[in-house]
């Protein structure tokens, strides 16, 4: 199924909307991955 865009504005609006939503999800995803990656690291000594 292919969406038809009748103007460049429509195209940019649609693709940028999807990209920004993906970016938001990506930020949470990366945060989750970082916590997974460092989950068993030894705590940093503060003395």
């Amino acid at each position: 199924m292919d969406t038809v865009f009748y103007s460049y504005h429509d195209f940019m609006l649609a693709t940028k909307t999807i990209t920004y939503v993906l970016m938001g999800l990506g930020l949470f995803g990366l945060l989750g991955f970082w916590l997974f990656l460092t989950g068993r690291d030894e705590p940093i000594r503060k003395y």
């Binding site: 693709t15 990209t19 990506g26 990656l37």
Partner: protein, 390 residues
Amino acid sequence: MNTHDNGAKNTLLTPGNVITAIILLVGLFITVLRFTKGIGSVTALDDNNPWGIWISFDLLCGVVLAAGGYTTTSAYYLFGLKHFRSAVRPAITSAFLGYAFVVFALHYDVGQPWRLVYPIFVSQGTTSILFEVGLCVFLYVTVLAIEFSPAVWEWLGIKKLRSLVLPLTIPLTILGVILSTMHQSSLGALYLIAPSKMHPLWYSSFIPVFFFISSMFAGMSMVIFEGILAHKGLHGKMDALHLKQADGVVLAFGKASAFVMMGYLFIRFYGVAMDNNFKYLFTGYGLWFLVETIGFVALPAFLYAMGARERNVSLMKIAAVITVLGVVLNRFNVSQVAFNYQLDASERYFPHWMEIGVSVFVVTLIITAYRFICTKMPVMYEHPEYKDAH
């Protein structure tokens, strides 16, 4: 320092040496053929496909897999991560050899070796991305040669030259990072000129960013991968510090690679979203795109992360091998599989056996040179006269 030789076998007729000799002889034969009969006599290239595997493998893969030089020197000299000390010289050595042989292999494509300096010194094409790539590679090979040279001066016992070069280390490292940033991304930017020839899943205006970010984890993974090979073939040349730090280098680079790879994975899909190309994911090319991104980026990133959590060095080494293969796959996809995808199968490019022969020849030359350098020069160990001096 541990420089003992294993066993007393001094014969040159080992299976490895015989295979190397055969490859070098065949390579020399093809070289003579290429430079006397022309490029058409040894390649399957044509007007539709002027760039074959000499560009895909020898150049694109050669440059990205030599990125271990700038990542390791940055980690040690710029970020001050002292546990990378033992990895610096092997990484610089392989980066220098990698780039030097990229330039060497380029001669097979462009021909007329005496004209190789023309784009820099005679006729500069300043509006071309290829000019920027050429200039950066020319400068970076020079930088790497100077960075590598202390090992040569230590080997030859020329203290004056060594002390002359050593203060340049930090400026050269910074210059190396700048040049790498420029030409790693520019190699991707070369493909911006051909939007209609590339499959939409691989074509993106972000392709320079993809190339640069993938060079980061490719470089780090290549350092781990080379470490695996070096421990098999050159274990006797490693000193106590190298052996002590080896696992730490794997864990640190593996962990860094995991995070960078996950970021890379996201931006690859942002590229798909920005051009509204999701529909192509459900085609044959889409499946291949998912194999590349999920199988060779997401999977090794996850394996690296598991390795980091469990401090499992073996798992990280497996992830490094998959990552290196994945980067090679990506460069082949961009420059071959997705390029000219709209042509009939009969018009598509498949390399001549002599093209593959030249690539194997070049890789064999790199391995032979690397073995020679690591056997003779203080790369895997510190020279006793200059301990703690770099």
